[in-house]
Assembly symmetry: C2
Homo-oligomer: 300 residues x 2
């Protein structure tokens, strides 16, 4: 049976927030995604690291339900990102990006990954996203993330990916840029006319809104007084979301809504520490408990 | 039996938004509050207007369930506010404020208003809020709104009002200023240590969060593609919220949550037109229908 496949980045992050800082910590979209999804389902990873990727980080990526056969190790240095968050934690200020081995990365999907049940295309060059799509049998769900850099610079390739996608997961500024409109309702119509039947808009500390069919579903973010580092929140959301959908073997509206809650649960754990420190150390009980808290936040 | 009493402003608003503009339209916190609350309960108004207050505006204020005996008409001109919203609709840019008769306004609560069941102190000088409190028998619920201007300039008087208040309804920037903290959870603890057992934080297009006991409740804003003018959204929220509580004769957690939904319903109607054009012309059916839509936005 096919599994949940993700293509994205594995990175070394140097991050400073008002609550601390780390240097060359384990990061990257695929890292947060796999770690979050692995609580729900089996995940297969396609990504690349350099010769300098530390064995202790590899040990964290190695989880029972994560298949690392698609993690290439290439000559050169690992992708590095350096960023800083001020007290307004919604947006990172990127101080430095070194693509390194990512610069020439051409994803090769291993033979054993080519019939995925679900596919998540994390925020990378849409041309690479297309390359992955062309190598696999059409999964039941294709979801993707993207960013302003690709919306501005590679809209042609991005529109091709969107045409193939079922679900788009982006933040509100990106949605407004892609829909070329400031109104959320209008944006949701415009973007869904490009392909995805489901649009999920991440709103940082304000939570998340999903547009599907003629309905909106909105969920607040988990209120935390011990937030440490917002890095990876979106990818952890995607991991919990897609992981739950894979485990539920369903994508009806009810399942999509529950998946949004599980995504929000995983994002809330991710931001309680730097890197995947907290996210990688959860119990099923932790996850269940927080899911129930979310229903308490929203019931009237 | 006591009624819902409100003290606030009745104003002539000149507003420009990307969707149109109006000059000397009926506005003011008490106007939006009364209009919204009148769908739920009987309301008594304390406010002041000038000699120039147009009869056609008075006709709009005059509603079956609104008692205008406390609306003073004084020599001079009516309070005027002029503001503009850009496409980022969350915050108004104030272009001009003319206090006029409001400058020397000292609220006098008519004899027939002095045993209110609930009291809403709209966003005015906290010293005036204290004057009103001193003239009435302690109602079962005292709620108030305030703004950065009073947080910065009259914190002493404001803290005295807060000590007497059950519910504070403010926006997120104001909450952060009053709590001197950026973290929502910490802010909710700090502010509630000042007096109010319930804190409601208005988040504009992101909806509203309520902190009560050890629980948070959050509700998204109604997604509109025909938003016209955000002026009065907060006061309409307060009117629906307090009006429902008055009609329910209860302030347990379940009622507070439902009141937040009714508040959000009324705010969503208010912003669909300039002034109270839409808000003043609703049916009970309109309100019920939108309430049900809110449960569809939030159920999982």
């Amino acid at each position: 049976m096919g599994k949940l496949l993700v293509v994205g980045s594995v990175a070394l992050d140097s991050v400073k927030t008002p609550f601390g800082e780390v240097t060359d910590a384990l990061g990257g979209s695929a890292t947060f995604f796999c770690t979050a999804a692995s609580y729900f389902t089996d995940v297969q990873l396609v990504a690349v690291v350099g010769e300098d990727f530390p064995p202790e980080h590899l040990a964290v990526l190695q989880r029972d339900r994560v298949d690392l056969n698609g993690l290439e190790r290439r000559p050169g240095r690992t992708f590095r990102w350096r960023g800083e968050y001020s007290y307004k934690l919604n947006e990172a200020k990127t101080l430095d990006t070194q693509l390194n081995v990512f610069e020439t990365f051409r994803p090769t999907v291993p033979e054993s990954y080519r019939t995925p049940s679900q596919l998540f295309l994390a925020n990378i060059d849409p041309e690479l996203q297309l390359m992955v799509l062309s190598q696999v049998q059409r999964p039941s769900i294709v979801a993707l993330d993207t960013m302003n850099f690709w919306i501005d610079g590679k809209i042609g390739a991005l529109r091709k990916v969107l045409k193939e996608a079922d679900i788009l997961i982006i933040n509100d500024g990106e949605a407004q840029a892609l829909g070329d409109n400031r109104n959320l309702v209008q944006v949701s119509r415009i973007i869904r006319s490009f392909g995805p039947r489901t649009l999920i808009i991440k709103r940082g500390e304000y939570g998340v809104a999903m547009f599907h069919g003629d309905a909106m579903f909105a969920l607040p973010a988990y209120p935390l007084d011990d937030l440490k580092d917002p890095t990876g929140a979106g990818d952890s959301f995607a991991g919990g979301f897609m992981g739950f959908l894979a485990s539920a073997s369903s994508s009806d509206e009810q399942s999509l809504r529950q998946a949004v809650v599980y995504g929000s649960v995983m994002a809330s754990f991710a931001v309680q520490s730097f890197s995947v420190d907290r996210l990688a150390a959860l119990t099923d009980e932790d996850i269940k408990k927080r899911y129930i808290e979310f229903s308490r936040f929203t019931t009237f």
